[in-house]
């Protein structure tokens, strides 16, 4: 890669700058690009491939073992079951990209869910529901979060937390949309507290979030009450994870999504070709676009078929969780890949010192990812609470967080920071939901589900470690 040029040792004989770097290429043939891909795989850059293969294997195994697994009803159900974990995992990817961890995301989402449920059940009267002392403490915590966010100049975080405070204090009557907004705002406020402790105070994220994991679990217990369960009797809240778009709406949604995807992808490729910058070969781009379009259309078609188990009712249409997850995925990917903020997250995760020297406000970035994580986790909380139809003292506890971390890692996000994408969370979350669903259909007890999930997570972590070693060996 380096050549010793004999005529470059003194000033006069040095070669003049030429019109580009001779070896730099912006175009590759499809064959070269595929060859590169194989070389990258061999070099240990596996990306989402192991998770996709694993998912395929699980599908095949469960289809063979259970005649109910590969039915339309079950597949639609699977989407609803996995969505909560997937969404929480998407938020966690932001934190994992910095090499940090948020163990409290699960119980923090539980707090958001329990506030939502309290607000709904008591028709907005949180003061009465919590009791004066608890209510004042709760408001005080949100005010503190707002102040901390303002100190860190996280305007969006401060804004959402303030909105949450207003909703709490004003005691607006129950309304499912306001309820969801309130849950999200509570998530934001929690994230501001976590982020402050990690980024400003400088306590290791593991310790802070472990402590908060316990604390938030206690808060959920306090809000819901020992042995109590808050039922979510509301059509909108129930529909989030259990309802579906009407058939025409499903097709409209599919059409908009597909057209938007093709327009963006193809437009970007054309722009790159015109500008003469590095781009993938045209046949590959077309192939990728075509494959996604085909999958989307087939998926929509399957989900618009009647999947009702009996003849009296008709259940058809794309479940609401699909557009919810898709919108979050697209927005989040846009932020990570195409904005300065996202670039700075990757930079801080890759080399914190380099980012600091490049003038990036590392403290602010670190604090902000915890805010993003908790906010998105609250959205996940809305989904899983909707799926269950109630909020109990265990909300967000138990396996929620570990499944979410597992989802991100199984999908290919590195725990060491700097590497990972949001779609990893979606793929990994689907793997975990599939295991849960498939073993459940086979009538396996919870013990087996936990053991199998653990083994799969170990497998994924081993793939990450081995590919990392391999990558170090070939210098990539």
């Amino acid at each position: 890669m380096t050549q010793l040029s004999p005529n470059s040792s003194s000033g006069e004989e040095r070669t003049e700058p030429t019109d580009g770097f001779a070896i730099d290429t912006t175009r590759r043939t499809t064959r070269e690009a595929l060859g590169d891909y194989v070389a990258r795989l061999r070099g240990g850059q596996l990306g989402a491939l192991p998770a996709l293969l694993g998912l395929l294997t699980l599908f095949v195994v469960f289809t063979v073992l259970s005649d109910r697994f590969l039915t339309l009803g079950n597949l639609a159900n699977l989407l609803g079951q996995g969505a909560g974990i997937v969404v929480i995992a998407m938020g966690l990817v932001f934190v994992l990209l910095l090499g940090d961890i948020d163990l409290s995301a699960g119980t923090a989402s539980g707090v958001a869910a329990s506030v939502l449920a309290l607000h709904l059940v008591n028709n907005g009267n949180l003061l009465g529901a919590m009791g004066t002392a608890v209510f004042l403490l709760f408001c005080g915590a949100i005010v503190l979060a707002v102040v901390l966010a303002l100190m860190a100049r996280l305007w969006i975080g401060a804004g959402l937390a303030t909105l949450g405070l207003l909703l709490v204090v004003l005691g607006v009557p129950a309304n499912p949309w306001l309820e969801i907004l309130l849950a999200v705002c509570v998530g934001t406020a929690i994230g501001c507290l976590t982020g402050f402790l990690v980024a400003r105070v400088g306590i290791p994220a593991f310790v802070v979030t472990l402590a908060l994991f316990l604390a938030w679990g206690g808060v959920v217990l306090q809000f819901v009450g020992v042995g109590g369960t808050l039922g979510l009797r509301d059509d909108v809240l129930f529909a989030v994870a259990n309802g579906s778009l009407p058939v025409w709406g499903s097709w409209l949604f599919a059409l908009v999504a597909v057209l938007g995807y093709v327009a963006l992808g193809w437009g970007r490729h054309l722009r790159q070709v015109r500008a003469g910058v590095v781009t993938a070969p045209t046949p590959l781009v077309l192939g990728k676009l075509g494959a996604v379009v085909l999958l989307a259309l087939v998926g929509t078609w399957l989900l618009t078929l009647n999947r009702s188990p009996n003849d009296q009712t008709v259940i058809a249409g794309v479940p609401y969780v699909v557009p919810i997850v898709l919108v979050l995925l697209v927005l989040g990917t846009l932020v990570l890949d195409r904005t300065r903020y996202g670039r700075h997250i990757y930079a801080v995760g890759g080399n914190r010192e380099a980012a600091r020297r490049a003038g990036i406000d590392v403290v602010k970035i670190r604090m902000s990812v915890f805010v993003v994580c908790s906010t998105v986790a609250a959205i996940g909380a809305v989904i899983y609470s909707s799926k269950v139809g109630s909020v109990d003292p265990q909300a967000g506890g138990g396996n929620t967080l570990l499944f979410a971390v597992g989802a991100a890692v199984i999908g290919g996000t590195s725990l060491f920071g700097g590497r990972g994408r949001l779609r990893d969370a979606v793929i990994g979350g689907t793997v975990i939901a599939t295991i849960d669903n498939g073993l459940g259909l086979l009538g396996q007890p919870a013990a087996v589900v936990s053991i199998v999930t653990g083994v799969v997570l170990l497998l994924a972590a081993s793939v990450d470690a081995v590919s990392r070693r391999r990558a170090a060996a070939v210098g990539r």
Partner: protein, 271 residues
């Protein structure tokens, strides 16, 4: 940028006006007086080598210029104007760029992303990748960098020399006026050292003022126009390379003086 490209390398006996001039700079860390009345001039189109033994204050001096440590006393002039540099941002705003020994690059990002790190170009709120990639390619091409397969190669896949090249090219991309290089060849092999030294020379040819810290006398004598020697925090001599010998520089580094040059008999110093 200034239009010094044609006039360099300047005749050291008739120096061009310095772009950066330090006079009487002092710096202490608590009771430890690290820099004593340091005078240093960095001229456009010249490579000034900063040499000295370990602990002589080279890195401290660079960090003072880069704004990481504020100076305690003395003055800094940039383009003849007195300036105060109290933060890395001040230095960057003036056009002073530092290439650190331990390479401030993020491994997981590609060359373009690293070159624009912290100063990304955006259009409509989104990153303008096309524009950045072109600018990065043009910069590397203008520096005759021909060893990188693609500007979209992740930095983790680059060799030490290539990384150093990217770090230096970053300084050029930002139209810097002064580039400080802290031991750029310390960890490199022969061929890679060659590349980086060529690049250093090219920076000067483009009219930048270059300060090169190095322990390697061969490197220094090959690329530097002037050699400034620090000895125990004092700048004992700043001499044109052509009037200096290896032995003199080594004596200056180790003893602070060499014949008429250097520390104690200031009245005898013949420049």
């Amino acid at each position: 940028m200034n239009d010094q490209r044609a006039g360099s390398p300047a005749d050291p006996t008739e120096p061009v006006r310095p772009v950066l001039r330090l006079s009487g700079v002092n710096k202490s860390f608590g009771p430890v007086h690290v820099l004593h009345d340091v005078d240093l001039a960095v001229r456009p189109g010249e490579v000034t080598a900063l040499v000295g033994d370990n602990g002589a204050g080279k890195s401290t001096l660079v960090k003072c210029i880069a704004g990481i440590h504020p100076v305690d006393g003395g003055s800094i002039h940039f383009d003849g104007e007195p300036v105060r540099i109290t933060s890395p941002k001040d230095a960057a705003d003036l056009g002073i760029e530092v290439v650190y020994q331990d390479l401030a690059l993020a491994d997981n990002l590609d060359i373009v992303q690293n070159m624009f790190l912290g100063r990304e170009r955006t259009r409509g709120g989104l990153l303008d990748e096309t524009d950045m990639e072109r600018a990065a390619r043009d910069t590397l091409a203008s520096l005759s960098v021909r060893t990188v397969a693609s500007v979209r190669t992740p930095v983790s896949a680059l060799s030490g020399g290539q990384r150093q090249t990217v770090a230096i090219a970053k300084a050029v991309l930002w139209n810097s006026r002064v580039v400080l290089l802290d031991e750029p060849t310390a960890a490199l092999g022969v061929a890679q050292t060659r590349q980086v030294l060529d690049l250093v020379r090219r920076l000067a040819e483009r009219g930048l003022g270059v300060v090169l810290i190095s322990h390697n006398m061969n490197d220094v004598f090959e690329v530097a126009d002037r050699i400034a020697t620090l000895y125990l925090g004092r700048l004992v001599a700043e001499l044109p390379t052509r009037d200096t010998t290896h032995a003199q520089v080594v004596e200056l580094i180790t003893a602070g003086r060499s014949g008429d040059l250097g520390l104690p008999r200031a009245e005898n110093v013949a420049l």
